[in-house]
Symmetry: C2
């Protein structure tokens, strides 16, 4: 799957993914109204509004980007109905040829971790049949529980040709509280990075393993060092745009060939229609506004890599 991601980045010349993290308040009035007319002001109604919103965004950007990253929390808050919308979003994105990174940040141990790995990347057996519950291409994973939590994901990644991104250094202000603390003279996140290298061994393709790392865009100096510390790990980089990082900050997240990192933007793209710069499109054309913002983001990043 990492091959497919690299191919798609090369073909689209766009090292980005669009974060499909719709708060209900991001969905234009008229779409919410339509969904509520069908399902009432219910969890199903909210889920339908979000799905229709995503579908329009996907339709307008799928040909210019390699990947999307739906954030499952935004769906989970609407219960099982929300998770139906999540599944539809994953499946429709894949139909459109996109690589899907499920931003699920799961982390547990043993058979529980295996259940999460099966849920998101693998298959589950029911009597004589097998099913895929959500079937993303990649999932994000939390490392706090150590190798026991990661191994079940590695097993499924090998069987199903999929991949994970392990949280190493996150983009938020308080990420340093634990991640930056020094252990034997090195921050915790560097120890996690060493494990990412170890976990990746023997997976993926020649250039990159199936075990990538999440490195926030908001700490450029960390990005530069982590790029060097994990030469075979693809970096998933949140924090561009709404969280404050600029293209200049991201130069050193890429390899010398301009690969090795995929930069996420969520609100900057899916809410483009509400920003002054793209307001001319109007609420009814929120998909076109998202496309314009995506093209601008691609140009911006390509100016530095």
């Amino acid at each position: 799957m990492i091959n497919k991601l690299i191919d798609k980045i090369t073909k689209t010349n766009a090292p980005i993914c669009v974060g499909l993290d719709p708060m209900l308040s991001y969905v234009p009035e008229f779409l919410q109204k339509k969904a509520f007319e069908m399902h009432g002001e219910t969890l199903e109604g909210a889920a339908e509004a979000i799905w229709q919103f995503n579908k329009e965004i996907i339709d307008k950007v799928y040909d210019i980007i390699p990947a999307v990253k739906p954030q499952i929390a935004m769906y989970e808050q609407f219960g099982p109905a929300g998770l139906v919308a999540y599944r539809k979003t994953v499946s429709y994105s894949k139909e459109k040829g996109l690589v899907v990174i499920g931003d699920v940040k799961r982390g547990d141990i043993g058979s529980t971790s295996a259940a999460y790995a099966d849920a998101h990347l693998g298959k589950v057996k029911v009597g004589s049949k097998t099913y895929s519950a959500f079937d993303e291409d990649f999932a994000t994973v939390n490392p706090y529980l150590g190798t026991d939590g990661i191994e079940p994901f590695l097993k499924v990644c090998k069987e199903e040709n999929k991949g994970i991104f392990v949280l190493v250094k996150t983009s938020n202000p308080s990420s340093g509280e634990f991640q930056d603390r020094l252990i034997d003279g090195k921050p915790l996140y560097e120890h996690v990075a060493s494990k990412v290298n170890e976990w990746g061994e023997g997976t993926g393709c020649d250039s990159y393993t199936a075990v990538g790392a999440v490195i926030g865009a908001t700490y450029p100096e960390v990005g530069r060092r982590m790029r060097a510390a994990m030469p075979k790990a693809f970096l998933l980089v949140p924090g561009y745009g709404a969280q404050g990082a600029t293209a200049a900050d991201l130069k050193d997240y890429f390899d010398k060939d301009g690969l090795g990192a995929i930069i996420n933007s969520s609100r900057g793209i899916i809410c483009a229609y509400t920003k002054e710069k793209y307001m001319r499109f109007g609420e009814g054309n929120f998909g076109e506004a998202a496309r314009a913002a995506t093209l601008d983001m691609i140009a911006d990043l390509n100016s530095v890599r």
Copy 2:
């Protein structure tokens, strides 16, 4: 909610919770068959089998225990249908007067963390209506992202009178890879424990805050020190039974009044009917076997606290 948990523990004289973590293979043949007759060998069929299994266990133990801890991964692997079974399990347990600890181990930042907090402990707004998606009483939370990930949960805990258990030192063999590493002479988990104290300030009741800690039963020496380090945090303790910890190991997890810790057992109880000791009940009476194993566990723990 922490008051309710303490009241229930005192009334039942049982410092335990039953882990509702059903693998489909734990569900007796006859129940699986019945569910598949209704729904076929589908994700819905699997979810129905698990729900019927849980219902029988709850019916047989609800009067002798204070709480249950459903592990969401076991439901998530069956997709939205599985999460319907999870929600039914939460809601039925609450109807029966049980405190429900959602073992979800979520961890993210900002609006995403808020969405998880709303999903599991709070409410979500849809037009002019509000809904609770899963509505557990407590949720387990991963601390790797720092305060940014915890604050949205604290806000919801205060509004809804609910609580969280933060992963501090987990029960698995590789928990030490990061959690035990020394920072300024103290293991990482002790630094997390300090934050648990800070996060808990001004929440909960006189004796305990709304912010508890997960401390594995498999490291008794750690349990003793953590009990002292977090005097106002309730401990949620996995690892008894199937993972190898005994009652003797757990003595020091309790306060001098015998409170302050709730010990979880999952397989040891819900799969009791498959163990030699309880096999006499037969597969058809798996609920009675679970009750017998629960009573034995309570007596075992009360011998040390």
